[in-house]
Assembly symmetry: C3
Homo-oligomer: 487 residues x 3
C-alpha cells in the first residue's frame, strides 16, 4: 500500500493535456497493426464465405434461412446499439462532458472490437488446419461484448483520463478479457450467456481498480463541472432506455438457437421490469419529500439485466427473474446512496458513473444466481436432452452433473474478480505515468481540454441588432455578446 | 352531471405533493404481489421451455429457425422501442416536464407489462391442463401492446397527475384492457392486428374520460410551463420518429406468419408516408405566413399508423393505405387546430398531448376502415385459403362470412368505446380523491414536484473567475451565480 | 459559364419566404397523384399477397419462415432508422436549424419513398402479364435507398432552400435515380449492393451541382447562424451513431440471401471501425493542442461505410475492409479541412454538411474499390457456384468474366457521376427561379422562416416572482421577461 502511494506521488507532475502527437500516433500505429494482423490471421467463416452455397448443398441444408446470420443478426444490431448509443449516451449526463462521453466511447469501442476479434479468435476459434481465425456473426457479437467490459471500466474514470489513456486501458482490458473468458468458459466450463461474470464483474472491478490507482485527492476542485444540467440528464435517458430495451437481446445474443434465445430474452425482460419498480421506490424513500433522483433512474434500473445475465438461459422461471430484478433494484440504488460516497471517502475510489452499483455488485449477484440455478438444475425441469443442451454437457464434459456445474460457475466468478482487480491495478500503474495527457485536478469533467467547443447559445443575437452593430463597429461576435451582457 | 360536479368539489382540498410514503409503498407492494402471482401462475411455453428440443423432434420440426422467436423477435424489439423511447420521448416536449414524461412513462410501462402478462394470460392463455399461464414471445408483445393503451391515456393527463395516480390508472387500465380485448377478439371474433380499436380507441377515451373527471378550471395558472422550448421540441422528435419508423412492426407484430406480417408492414409504411404530406399541408395552411407548427409534425404524422391498424393485415391494397393516411393527416391536424381548444373550453376536457387527435379519432376511423375492408373481402381477392387464414374462419367460426365479419368488427369498435369512456369515468372518480399527491393548479407541468433537479446551465462559471471567487469568499455556487447576474 | 452567371443574376429578386400557398399545394397535389398512380399500378407481390399460402404449398416451400419478409425485415427497419433518424439528426448540428433539419428530412423522405416505389417499379418490376408493379419488402428497402440519395443532396443545400424547393429537388432526384439505377444495374450489369455509386456518388454530385447553381455570394451575412451550439452537436451525434451502427444493415439489406448478407455486414462493420481511428487521428493532428473537431467525428467516421458499399458483398477480405476504412477516414477528414473551404472560395460551391467529403469522395472510392475487387475475383476464392451467385453471372450474363465485370463496374461509376452532375445543374436552374420561397442571404440557417418557434428558455421565470408580478400588472410573459432582463 505504501509503495503504491509513493508511486502515485512520484507520478504527480504538472499536467500537459496536449495530445496532438500521442493520440494520432496511437490511432495510426494501432490501426496499421490491426490491418497487418487481420491480413495474416482473419478470414470469413463457413457461413459468410462465398463457398457457403456449395457447403449448404453438401450438408443438405434446405434453405439459406438456416445461415447463422438469420439467427443472430437482429440481436447483433441491438447489442451494437447498446455499445455505441447505450453506453455512449448513458455517460452524457455531465454538464460539459457530453462530447467526450459519446466521442471517446465511440473511439475506444471502434478500436476495441478489432482487437477483440483477434484476441478472442486466437483463444477460441483458431482453425487448426490453416492457422486462421474464422469470423462470422457470432464473432462480431462476442467482440461487442468484449468491448462492453472496457466501456464499463470507462464509466469509473469518466472525466479524469485522456483519450490516450483510454486507448491503453482498452488495449489491456481486451487482452485480459480474452484470457479470463477463455479460462472461465473453456477451461472451467462455466456458462455465462449474458456475461454477468466475464463482462460485468470483470469490467467493473477493472475500472474501479484503475480509478483507485488514479485517485485524485483534489478532485473537488472540479466539482463545479461534476454534475448534470437539465438537458444533459435527458440525453442520458436515451442511453438508459436503449440499454434497458435491448438488454434482452444482449443476454440472448449468443445463447443456443431455439429455446435458449427465447428463454433468455423472456427472463431478462422480466428482471428489468421488476428492477424499475424497486429503484423508484428506494429513490423516492431516500429523499426528503419523496422526490426521485435521476442518477438512480438512469442507472439502477439496469441492474436487473446485469444480474440475470448468467442465469438468463437457464430455467430460472419467470418469478425467479422478477425476484432477481427486485433485489438488484434495491441493492443498486442503496449503493448510489451509501456505498459510492463511502468508497470515495474511505477507499479512495472515485467512481464517476457509479459502476460499482450498476455493474460490480449486480454482476457478482448474477454469478451467484447462476451458480445456484445451475446447481439446482434437474432432468425433471429441463428434460434429459434439454439439460445436455442447456449446459453443454457434451464431449469432454459429458459426465458433468448440475451440482458440480454450480461449483464451476462459482469458480468462474472468482476468476473474473481476480482478473478485474489484478489487471486493473497493473494497468492503473501504467496509466499513472505522467505521459498520457490527462487533465489537471481543477479541470476534470471538461470537454474543453480535448474538443474544439462551439460558442455558447447565449451568443445568438437577434438579427436586427446584430446587423446594426456590425455596421457600427467591426466587432467579433464574442466581443459583442460580452458587451451586451455588461449593459 | 351535477353529482359529478359536486363530487369534484368535495375532492378539492389543498394539495400535498409529497409521495415519499405512497409511491414506495405502491411500488413495493405491487411488485411483491407480481412475484407471488407469477410464482403461482406463470411458466414458459412450449417454444421457450428447455423441453423444446424434445418437442421439436417429436413434432418433426426440421430446424430451430421455426421457433416462434425468429418470427416475432425483431418486431418485438421495435415495439419495445416504441413503448419506452417512442411514447416516452414524444411527451418530453414540455419545457420543464421531460424528466416526468420519460421517467413516469418508464415506471408505468415496467409495472404495466407485468400486470398485463397476468391479466391477458388469465383471459387468453390459461392452460386447462395445469392451470398455468404459458408465456412466450407473443405474450411479451401483447403485454407491450396492453401497456401502450395506458401510455396513450397518460398523454391526456400529462403534467397534471402524480406518479401514484399514474400507477393506479395503469392498474385499472390494464385490467379493463384485458377484459375488452377478450370480448372483442375472442367473444366477438373481431380482428384487430394493430389495435386501432382495442389499443388506441380504448386507450384514448380512457385517458380523455379521466382527464374530464380531473378537470382543473384554474389550469391556466400553470400556463407559463405548458409549452415547449427549442431543444425540448427536438427531443420530442426522437419520440415521434421512433414511433413513426417502427409502426410497421407494431401493426405486423402479431399478425399471421408469412404474408400476414409482410402485408401489414407494407400497408402501415404507406399509410404513414401519406399522412406526413397532408399534415404538413394543413399545418402550413393554418398559420399566417405558412409556418409549420411542431405540435402537428410531432403528432399528426403518426395518425395514419393508428388508422391503418385494424385493416393492416387485410388486402387493403397499397392505394387504400395511402387514402387512409391522407384522410387521417388532415383530420388529425384539424383536430389540433379546432377540436382540442373546443374540448377544453366547452367539454371541460384538458388534453395535454392532444391524444384525441392522434389516437381517438384515428382509432375510430381505423375501426370503421377495418369493418368496411372486412365486409368487402372476397375469395377472388384473398383466395379460398387466404380468406380463411386472414380472418381465422376456423373452428367455431368456420361458417363466418366476410359481410358478417364486418358487422362484428363494428361491434368491436363499440365495445372499445364503451370500455374507454365508462372505465375512464370510474377510474377518474377514484383518482379525484385528495390522497394521491397530485400537483396544485399553479404548479402543473413542473418536474420540480417529483424530481431532484440539477441547477441551471447558467451556473457554469468560467474556471478562472470561479476559482478567484472561491478564494475570496466561501460562497456556494448558487449564491455566486445569483450575484453575478445582479451585477 | 457566363450564361449560367447571367441566369443566376436575373433570378436574384427580393425573396418572399411565405410558403402558405405553394407548400400545401405541392403536398396535396402530389399526394393525390400518388394515390391515383398507386391505384392504377401498384399491387402486393407473391410474398405479401393473401394467396401466399396457396403459392407456398404449390411451390413446396416447407415453412412460412422462407417468406422474404424474414430475410429482409430486420435490415429494412435498420435502414428505415438511418433514413429518418440517421440523416435527420445528423443535420441538426446547426444552432437554429434543427427543426428544419429533422422536419424537412421527414417530409421529403415520406414523399420520396412513394415516388420511388413507382419509378423503380416502372423500371425494374413491372409485371408483363398485367402491367402492374408488384411490391414487397425488397421494394420498400429500395425505395428507402432511393430516398437516401436525395437526403444526401439535402445536406449540401441545408439552410439555404425552402421546403418547396426540397420537394422539387426530391421529385427530380428520385426520377434521375431510377433511370441511372436501371442503366447501372440492369443495362451495364454492375453490382452495387450498398450503393456507393448509385446512391452516394449520384446523390452527392446531384446536391453539389444544385448548390453550385444556387451559389449565394453574400452567405456570410448569415454566418452568425451557420454553426453549432453544445447541445445541437450532441443531437447530431444521435444521427451519426445510428447511421454508423446500422450501416452494416444498409450494405447487406438487398444482397443475396445467406452468405451475401452475412459477408456484407461483416465487411461494413470492419471498414467503419477502421475509419473512426483515422478520423480521430487526422482531426487531432489538424488542430493546435490536438483538440478534436466535432464536425469530423460526426461525419468522417461514416466514410468507410460509403466506400465499402459496392464491394461489401464481394470477397473483399476482412483486412481489405480495414484498409478501405483506413484510407477513407483520412481522405474524408482532410476534405473537411482543405477541400470544403477550397470549394467554397474557388469553385463557388457552398456545401453546408460537407457531403463532398462524406459521400462524394468516398462514393467514388467505393466504386473504384468495387471495380478492382470484381476484376480480381477468381474461382479459387469464390468457388465456382459462389462466383456465379455473387456476381449474378446468369441468364444473359452467363458468359461474363470477372475482369470484364470490373470494367462494367467502372462504367457504372461514370454513369452515376454524369447523372449527378448533369441532373444537378438542370434541377439547380429550375430551383433558381424566384418563385420557391427560399431565404434571403441574411436569414439562412434560420428555423424562424418556416416554423412557429417556441419562446426562449430564458423566459421561464421562477414561480413566486411570476405570480407576484401577475398580480401587480397584467403583463404578458414576453413583456415580463424583457423587463426582468433590463433590471
Amino acid at each position: 500500500m505504501g509503495c503504491i502511494q509513493s508511486f502515485r506521488q512520484c507520478c504527480d507532475r504538472p499536467k500537459n493535456t496536449n495530445v496532438r502527437i500521442s493520440l494520432p500516433a496511437v490511432c495510426f500505429v494501432w490501426q496499421i497493426a490491426m490491418i497487418i494482423l487481420f491480413g495474416i490471421f482473419i478470414r470469413y467463416d463457413q457461413q459468410s464465405d462465398a463457398h457457403w452455397i456449395e457447403y449448404r448443398k453438401s450438408q443438405n441444408i434446405s434453405s439459406d434461412i438456416e445461415n447463422d446470420f438469420y439467427f443472430r443478426y437482429p440481436s447483433f444490431q441491438d447489442v451494437h446499439v447498446m455499445i455505441f448509443v447505450g453506453f455512449g449516451f448513458l455517460m452524457t449526463f455531465l454538464k460539459r462532458y457530453s462530447f467526450s462521453a459519446v466521442g471517446f466511447n465511440f473511439l475506444i469501442a471502434a478500436f476495441g472490437l478489432q482487437w477483440a476479434l483477434l484476441m478472442q479468435g486466437w483463444f477460441q476459434s483458431l482453425d487448426p488446419m490453416d492457422g486462421k481465425i474464422k469470423i462470422g456473426m457470432e464473432s462480431l457479437i462476442n467482440a461487442d461484448f468484449c468491448v462492453a467490459s472496457c466501456l464499463i471500466a470507462y464509466g469509473a474514470v469518466l472525466g479524469k483520463v485522456s483519450p490516450v489513456q483510454l486507448m491503453v486501458m482498452t488495449l489491456f482490458g481486451i487482452t485480459l478479457y480474452a484470457v479470463e473468458e477463455f479460462i472461465i468458459l473453456n477451461l472451467i466450463h462455466a456458462r455465462d450467456a449474458g456475461g454477468s461474470m466475464v463482462i460485468h464483474t470483470f469490467g467493473a472491478y477493472y475500472g474501479l481498480s484503475i480509478s483507485w490507482m488514479l485517485y485524485r485527492p483534489n478532485l473537488d476542485r472540479s466539482k463545479r463541472l461534476n454534475g448534470s444540467v437539465y438537458h444533459s440528464d435527458v440525453f442520458a435517458m436515451i442511453g438508459t432506455l436503449f440499454l434497458w430495451m435491448f438488454w434482452p437481446s444482449f443476454n440472448s445474443a449468443i445463447t443456443n438457437h431455439g429455446d435458449g434465445q427465447h428463454r433468455a430474452a423472456i427472463n431478462t425482460y422480466l428482471a428489468l421490469a421488476s428492477t424499475v419498480l424497486t429503484t423508484v421506490a428506494i429513490s423516492s424513500l431516500s429523499q426528503k419529500a419523496g422526490k426521485l433522483d435521476m442518477v438512480h433512474i438512469q442507472n439502477s434500473t439496469l441492474a436487473g439485466g446485469v444480474a440475470v445475465g448468467t442465469a438468463a438461459e437457464f430455467m430460472l422461471m419467470p418469478y425467479g427473474s422478477l425476484i432477481v430484478g427486485f433485489c438488484c433494484g434495491i441493492i443498486s440504488t442503496l449503493g448510489y446512496i451509501y456505498v459510492t460516497p463511502f468508497m470515495e471517502k474511505y477507499l479512495k475510489i472515485q467512481d464517476t458513473c457509479g459502476i460499482h452499483n450498476l455493474h460490480a455488485m449486480p454482476g457478482v449477484i448474477g454469478g451467484i444466481v447462476g451458480a445456484i440455478t445451475a446447481a439446482a438444475a434437474s432432468e425433471g425441469v429441463y428434460g434429459k436432452e434439454g439439460l445436455i443442451n442447456t449446459f453443454d454437457f457434451k464431449g469432454d464434459w459429458k459426465d458433468m452433473v448440475p451440482t458440480r456445474q454450480g461449483g464451476h460457475q462459482a469458480a468462474g466468478l472468482c476468476v473474473a474478480l481476480c482478473f478485474g482487480v489484478g489487471g486493473g491495478i497493473i494497468v492503473g500503474c501504467i496509466l499513472r505515468l505522467p505521459i498520457w495527457g490527462d487533465a489537471p485536478d481543477d479541470n476534470c469533467f471538461d470537454d474543453d481540454l480535448y474538443w474544439e467547443l462551439p460558442e455558447d447559445e447565449e451568443s445568438i443575437p437577434p438579427i436586427l441588432e446584430y446587423n446594426n452593430h456590425m455596421q457600427n463597429r467591426d466587432a467579433t461576435e464574442s466581443d459583442f455578446s460580452m458587451e451586451q451582457s455588461q449593459n
